[in-house]
């Protein structure tokens, strides 16, 4: 099956879901979500069966859709991340419906008791299509369009709980800052076009490598783009929006933002910075910018996470911290192999980042699944609510323990390999000592704030009146078990993820 059929299937799925909500009478709208999960699972399997065109000449389509031999594996890998995240987010959304409906449907006004729920399931599917396209976008135009398709969906989803002040506040913040960053992105793209005279990434790379390139103008374009993408991935000093938006948004959407949106940001960042790394003159300066960004993000994310008392906010800072580790991989310049052989996957930034994102997906979504289940029992996501979780629900406590251990980077979990490969790449490529020191400080601080969650669950007794068992629906439970197994399996056999890239 041609590779672009996948995006088409996902878009059609979204349309079908909208139609189903409008024209089919459904007792329980969760069925729409289950249908989507089913179709997306098929799409996920189809990823292993796609075919690529023999030649990209002739059809203008391939000017917008990457079919280069070298990047096919990565495109599919990132598409896989998008699909998998969407599947789990949909399951999470079904679990979250109780909280969501409190702030959307108003049955006393005659609305359907589940009104608004099906769109909540549908929008992530559209975002997923955008993310999948972005994984293959090789042209400034297609990058921009796919990125906006995702971002605009998120504007709606973040503010979805319209009768909840926090959600609205998050929506407004995200909208204003997101629009601003889009402005920077477009402006940066126009400058890049102006400098190189092409929108095609391969062409841009060629042009930038020429001696005649206007370095100042190219760097200006880069600066504008980095502001915009720094916002998307949550790199300091553009991370301001993350804690508030993450805290306010509905939990499944927070999970979606923190995994898929971050992955998307890094794909674009990798593709565009790849153009700049091609030229000796530029690559040094661009590398230095990434080093500074990485150090700031590592320190800010990890140190600001220390005093957090709200679990969702803590995970927001943790997502900044992980962006720091990903930037650290990006900032370690790619080793050039002399005799034209391809360097081993783990000696390249893109290989390490892909692995890290895969591991990050597993552990972050696990944490958010637990958070969704616990949130059903209480009014907010404060850490106090997690006291005594080990007694209330040993299963959830163990899941969260695994997730936190992996996020902190305890060996024999997926998260450790992620950090290990990042540090290995940095040390191997002679990254500056400050960067490595910032990484060590960040990882050490991580031990504290992730273990704080573990301590709260296991050491403390549950609060009075909030000490009953916590029900978890079957699909969520199955996903959690699978994620736990995957975290340990990848923590011992990293090839489980690395093998997928090829």
């Amino acid at each position: 099956m041609p590779v672009y059929y996948l995006e088409i299937i996902v878009v059609v799925l979204g349309l079908v879901m909208l139609m189903a909500d409008a024209f089919v009478k459904l007792e329980d709208k969760r069925n729409i979500a289950w249908f989507a999960v089913l179709v997306l699972s098929v799409v996920f399997l189809l990823l292993f069966k796609v075919s690529w065109p023999e030649s990209t000449e002739g059809s203008p389509f391939w000017k917008f859709y990457d079919a280069e031999k070298g990047s096919r594996g990565f495109s599919l890998f990132f598409k896989g991340i998008a699909v998998l995240t969407t599947i789990i987010v949909l399951i999470m959304a079904a679990e979250f419906r109780g909280v969501l409906l409190k702030y959307t449907a108003k049955p006393e006004d005659g609305a359907h008791p589940q009104s608004g729920l099906s769109e909540f399931f549908t929008l992530p599917v559209f975002a997923c299509a955008g993310l999948m396209w972005m994984a293959s976008a090789n042209n400034l135009a297609s990058i921009f369009v796919s990125l906006e398709a995702v971002t605009i969906t998120f504007y709606i989803l973040v503010a979805y709980m319209r009768r909840n002040v926090g959600s609205l506040e998050a929506g407004v913040k995200y909208l204003i800052l997101g629009a601003l960053s889009t402005g920077f992105l477009v402006y940066g793209f126009t400058w890049l076009f102006g400098v190189t005279g092409t929108m095609d990434l391969a062409g841009i790379k060629e042009q930038l490598a020429l001696d005649s390139v206007n370095v100042t103008a190219a760097l200006f374009a880069f600066a504008l783009i980095i502001v915009a993408l720094g916002f998307k991935v949550g790199a300091a000093p553009f991370q301001n929006w993350i804690p508030d938006v993450y805290q306010g948004a509905p939990t499944p959407i927070t999970a979606f933002l923190s995994v898929a949106s971050k992955a998307a940001g890094f794909i674009v960042l990798l593709r565009i910075s790849g153009c700049f790394f091609g030229s000796g003159d530029l690559s040094e300066k661009v590398g230095a910018v990434f080093v500074v960004l990485a150090i700031l993000t590592l320190l800010f994310g990890n140190l600001a996470a220390l005093p957090q008392t709200n679990f969702k906010r803590l995970l927001a800072y943790s997502s900044i911290a992980h962006a720091g580790f990903l930037l650290m991989a990006l900032a370690s310049p790619i080793t050039l192999v002399a005799d034209g052989k391809e360097p081993p996957l783990l000696d390249t930034s893109i290989g390490v980042i892909a692995f890290y994102l895969g591991a990050y997906l597993l552990m972050t979504l696990l944490a958010f699944l637990v958070m969704t289940a616990v949130r059903n029992q209480q009014e907010d996501d404060s850490l106090e609510g997690y006291a005594g979780l080990a007694k209330r629900s040993p299963f959830l406590a163990f899941s969260l323990l695994v997730s936190m251990a992996s996020l902190a980077g305890v060996p024999l979990t997926a998260g450790f390999f992620g950090k290990f490969f990042v540090f290995k790449l940095a040390i191997q490529n002679g990254a500056c000592g400050w960067l490595i020191a910032a990484g060590v400080i960040g990882a050490a601080a991580g031990f504290y704030y992730y273990f704080k969650v573990i301590a709260s669950m296991f050491w403390n007794a549950p609060a009075e009146g909030n000490d009953g068992p916590i029900p978890v629906s079957m699909p969520a439970k199955v996903v959690m078990v699978l994620l736990i197994i995957a975290i340990f399996a990848v923590g011992i056999v990293p090839n489980l993820i690395l093998g997928l890239i090829k």
Partner: protein, 503 residues
């Protein structure tokens, strides 16, 4: 088909899983520990001690997980790891046996036994791995169980603070260690393999050797990293509190087994791969180890609580092992490895007996315990006396054989009529540590068990569940004490082969 060493490492993990899914905790844990002891003894029996040159590791198994760089879940033993493996299985059995019965554990007895098993599995994995990555990774398996156990079941008001201290301290220490290990990996040859044996070959090949200046800073990173884990002065402050506040089996496993990992790493990794670095920082290590022996020895005398005193003494004795490592040579390293075994067993014994005392009298402060308890609990008193003598290093116990070898090792390179080197001066000063140990151990024994009886409680003497683990440990100590060859024979071929040369 898994190899015997793979079973050894993964059996405790499987047992922990089984307990998690509802198997009877104490029964499963003790069962797994007994089977592991059996496998360990069989493995020791099948180890060929007469090997000349040839393979460094025996009973090897390897499962390649990653091609580039080569990363494998590989296990194997040489003399040193064999002895530490035996130490681990012996102490593990004693520790789970000495754990309180399920009905006496407040909270979840499952978690209690699972934690002990995971710590044991981590230690076994670390000692048996022949792959640098897993050597590091397995050691960290103990991090979370220790954190949970001290916070949940620990003693004293400050247990939560203690749990944080040990976790952060060891976490930071292992991150520094990780940075050092990655630097080591990157600088050796083509940075394409984590196999320890191959890395050593490259490190000692004059063509692929690491330049001296690089060796120096990497060794320093490793020294700090491993040093934190072994509680080398001045990175020791996490240890006494942690051991004092932790539940008994955790103290036994941590002080007895896990702490040896840092020393093991220095002898296995840092010594052979960074010989120039080791030489450069030798005097620094000597100063620090004197800090362990003399300064911390004096601090130990001043302790007012038995558990803290034992904890401090365990930190202090690490100084001797370091002395053996620095002295190097066949005798020095043999002494160091032997002392790791002896100290591990004797400190586990002391913590087990201290746990029994705490259970009976509710406190371990010397003032509150009063004196004359030997009349109330004669068996406990007798066993404690044995443990104290072993810890001081009296002849007949393994500790004596080991310490003597270390001191001999320090003097071995001396030529007739040559002035004493710093190493030898350090050895002479360290000898006073034996006197210091005698002072605090005998004083503690006298204060607690001799003299007039002050307490009004009438507890029972040791039950069989307490006697069995204690006897197991004492018998091992005396066996090795009277006949050290039983372990030393394993070390000889290992020392003559490449793994240990250059330390």
């Amino acid at each position: 088909m898994p190899s015997s060493l793979e079973i050894l490492v993964f059996l405790p993990i499987l047992a922990a899983l089984a307990i998690g899914f509802g198997a009877p905790a104490r029964f499963t844990a003790i069962g797994a520990a007994i089977i592991n002891l059996g496998i360990g003894l069989v493995a020791a029996k099948s180890y060929n001690v007469n090997i000349e040159g040839g393979a460094v590791f025996q009973l090897e198994s390897s499962r390649v997980l990653l091609e580039s760089p080569k990363l494998a879940l590989a296990f194997g033993v040489d003399g040193m790891s064999l002895i530490l493996m035996l130490l681990t299985v012996i102490v593990t059995l004693a520790a789970v046996w000495a754990s309180p019965a399920e009905s006496k554990i407040k909270g979840s007895p499952k978690l209690y036994y699972i934690s002990s098993l995971l710590i044991a599995a981590g230690a076994l994995g670390a000692f048996l791995s022949t792959d640098l990555f897993f050597l590091y990774a397995f050691h960290e398996l103990a991090l979370i169980p220790t954190f949970l156990m001290i916070g949940m079941y620990g003693h004293g008001k400050n247990r939560k603070r203690t749990a944080w201290t040990i976790t952060i301290y060891l976490g930071v220490g292992s991150l520094i260690l990780l940075a050092g290990l990655i630097a080591l990996f990157v600088n050796i040859g083509q940075n394409d393999t984590f196999s320890i044996a191959e890395m050593i070959v490259r490190a000692q090949d004059s063509e692929t050797m690491i330049p001296e200046a690089t060796q120096s800073w990497i060794y320093l990173l490793l020294l700090v990293g491993f040093g934190v884990l072994v509680s080398l002065f001045p990175f020791h402050s996490w240890a006494p509190d942690a051991y004092a506040d932790a539940p008994t089996p955790i103290s036994m496993l941590h002080a007895g087994v896990l702490k040896k990992f840092g020393l093991y790493g220095l002898i296995r990794i840092a010594g052979p791969m960074l010989p120039a670095g080791a030489e450069k920082w030798m005097n620094l290590v000597l100063v620090l180890l004197l800090g362990n022996i003399i300064i911390l020895g004096l601090v130990t005398i001043a302790q007012k609580r038995l558990d803290r005193m034992i904890g401090m003494s365990s930190v202090m004795h690490m100084g001797y092992v370091f002395l053996g490592v620095v002295a190097g040579g066949t005798i020095g390293i043999s002494g160091a490895v032997l002392l790791m075994f002896a100290h591990g067993v004797s400190i586990a014994l002391l913590f087990a007996l201290a746990g029994s005392l705490r259970e009976r009298f509710g406190s371990l402060e010397f003032d509150k315990l009063g004196g004359g308890l030997g009349k109330l609990v004669p068996k406990l008193g007798l066993l404690f006396g044995f443990a104290a003598f072993a810890s001081i290093g009296l002849p007949g116990f393994a500790n004596f054989a080991a310490e003597v070898m270390i001191f001999f090792g320090a003097f071995q390179p001396m030529e007739a009529n040559a002035p004493l080197s710093f190493l030898q001066w350090a050895a002479i000063i360290s000898l006073w540590g034996v006197v210091i140990s005698a002072v605090y151990m005998l004083r503690a024994f006298r204060k607690i068990f001799k003299g007039p009886l002050t307490t009004t409680e009438t507890p029972k003497d040791m039950s069989w569940n307490e006697r069995v683990p204690a006897l197991l440990l004492i018998v091992s100590l005396m066996l090795v004490g009277f006949y050290p060859e039983i372990l030393l024979k394993y070390l000889r071929p290992a020392l003559e082969s490449l793994t240990l040369i250059g330390s």
